[in-house]
């Protein structure tokens, strides 16, 4: 992998996250932890009528975990639970290097993380936010 892995999308979301702050009255809150790296985030969502009206995260970790969580929130706010989960499916396919063109299109900025598929040691960082989201919506994580 080249050092271009840390592209502008990734470093920008890491250094200037849009959704890294607590929100008022979240109704779904869950902590996600990567014991091996020490990445630790708390995902907060406010879901009304099956729609994610607000969402954020707080915590700390490597650039990949932090940027990935921020990009995820950018994608899922305003979406329904099912839409958010299908985005998560698309993201997981991308990480396994099985994503279709439609997946990549759907994932928008999250596509900046597609090289993770060649970096097994960092997969956990990239999927931390998404796994936490899935768990929050009652899916069992693998």
């Amino acid at each position: 992998m080249s050092d271009s892995f840390y592209n502008e999308v990734l470093t920008d979301h890491n250094m200037h996250p849009i959704h890294k702050h607590p929100i008022d009255n979240p109704n779904l809150v869950l902590e996600g932890v990567n014991p091996s790296c020490g990445d630790d985030i708390v995902l907060q969502l406010r879901v009304e009528d099956d729609k994610i009206v607000e969402g954020s995260f707080v915590g700390e970790g490597c650039a990949i975990s932090q940027a990935s969580a921020d990009i995820m929130l950018e994608l899922i706010i305003g979406k329904s639970k099912d839409e958010a989960l299908s985005l998560s499916d698309a993201f997981m396919r991308m990480i396994r290097n099985e994503a279709s063109e439609e997946d990549i299109e759907l994932l928008d900025e999250a596509g900046a993380l597609k090289d993770i598929s060649h970096m097994p040691a960092r997969v956990k960082c990239a999927v931390l936010g998404w796994h936490t989201l899935e768990e929050l919506f009652g899916r069992k994580s693998e």
Binding site: M1, S2, D3, F5, Y6, E8, T11, D12, N14, M15, S36, C37, G38, E60, G61, C62, A63, I64, M119, R122, C125
Partner: protein, 410 residues
């Protein structure tokens, strides 16, 4: 090219990994690389001397036993032990430390006793003592380093009491890289009536260690950090202490006779080496120690000091990098651990990896020390005699660009 550079270049030719790849390997504290002669010693052992040691009465088994026991004698000589029976082969330093905990700690300690453990310890010299404490009721007492990462005699005097039975301390911390004055610490422990357990995993590969001069009761180290194969390590224990200890694991090769209603255990060191031993690993360790003796610690230490100095002088000129522990290169035995402002260690290591530079990121199996330092994790470069100035310069060049790559303008 200086004389040292020439010698390093020649030594590097003995390592296939350096001949055939361009990795900059700066994770020597985790494990070293292995020269051809060590790999050959292992394969020659299996090709020429392979049988089950101690068991056969035939010539081949005797050859095997002889090779294994000559490795033991070599290890004894390498650390200045008086008797080779004081050398127990284990899988690694971790197993050696567990052996002390299970075979000595669990039997000898009880409620009211105290175990002094430094907060700088690798989990391997910490968790076994937590276990002993939980099983026996002995109290764990924390020993703190000074700001340079040193466990000072004064700090030990402050916590040691008449109840102290064991003092567990590393000779060189795998995070600070600072050498502790084990000889004085051992003296203080002995004056209080305690024994000293010394973790030599980071010291034995990099400096002459003489157990009789240091007067340590126990010393543990791993072969794989000193050019030998993974899976072979050493426990040194003073003969009278080792003789008094209970067996660690039970089974083959550690007995003299076994009957349904009675058993007689073998003598030291065999009583602590249950099951078929790692004779191939021991052959590799012997070759590694011969190689290191040939190179000599004068050279090993000089080269590692030189690389450490170069790295630390270079780091001083890079913004946002903070070395943990002693700020002088003299206080680092080939280990330089640091943080990069605003950049997580895993991202630091990832960027190094993109330039084929291998460094370690994380908590370095020393989480209580991370807690003490108030950091979650950090990045470590650790040098061996086979590293070059050119490699350190590549490391520094990459390091100087990391914050910029992560979006910081400076």
């Amino acid at each position: 090219m200086t004389e040292i550079d020439e010698k390093v270049k020649k030594l590097r030719e003995e390592f296939r990994i350096f001949r055939e790849t361009d990795y900059v390997y700066l994770d020597n504290s985790a494990t070293s690389q292995r020269p051809d002669r060590v790999i050959r010693a292992v394969s020659d052992f299996y090709a020429e001397k392979n049988a089950n040691p101690f068991r056969g009465v035939y010539e081949l088994s005797e050859k095997c036993t002889e090779e294994y026991e000559s490795a033991r004698s070599r290890a004894a000589a390498f650390i200045g032990a008086e008797h080779s029976s004081e050398i127990v082969f284990t899988r690694n330093a971790t197993e050696a430390l567990n052996l002390i905990a299970y075979s000595y700690g669990c039997f000898e300690l009880s409620e009211g006793d105290e175990i002094v453990v430094s907060v700088c310890e690798h989990h391997s010299n910490f968790l076994p003592w937590v276990m002993v404490s939980e099983r026996t009721g002995a109290k764990l007492v924390k020993l703190l380093p000074d700001e340079t990462g040193c466990i000072t005699p004064k700090a030990l005097r402050n916590v040691i009491t008449g109840k102290t039975r064991l003092v567990c301390v590393t000779q060189v911390s795998n995070v600070f890289g600072k050498v502790n004055d084990i000889k004085t610490l051992a003296q203080i422990a002995h004056e209080a009536g305690a024994l000293i357990v010394c973790d030599g995993a980071q010291s034995v590969p990099h400096m002459p260690v003489d157990v009789r001069d240091l007067d340590v009761d126990f010393l543990a180290f791993s072969g794989h950090k000193m050019l030998a194969p993974m899976g072979i390590g050493v426990l040194y224990a003073k003969r009278d202490i080792l003789s008094s200890m209970k067996p660690f694991m039970l089974g083959g090769e550690m007995i003299e006779s076994v009957h349904w209603d009675r058993v007689k255990f073998a003598v030291i060191p065999h009583v602590f080496e249950a099951g078929t031993v790692n004779a191939g690993g021991a052959a590799g360790l012997k070759a590694a120690m011969e190689f290191m003796d040939e190179i000599g610690f004068d050279f090993i230490m000089e080269q590692e000091k030189r690389l450490t100095r170069l790295a630390m002088d270079g780091i001083k000129n890079i913004n946002g990098i903070h070395v943990i522990g002693d700020q002088s290169p003299e206080g680092h035995e080939g280990i330089v651990t640091f943080t990069v402002d605003g950049v997580h260690p895993h991202d630091v290591a990832q960027i190094f990896d993109s330039e084929k530079i291998c460094v370690r990121a994380g908590h370095h199996c020393a989480q209580p020390l991370m807690d003490h330092l108030g950091i979650g994790s950090c990045t470590r470069a650790s040098f061996a005699f086979y590293n070059t100035e050119e490699e350190v310069n590549r490391f520094l060049e990459c390091l100087s660009g990391i914050r910029r790559k992560m979006g910081y303008n400076e």
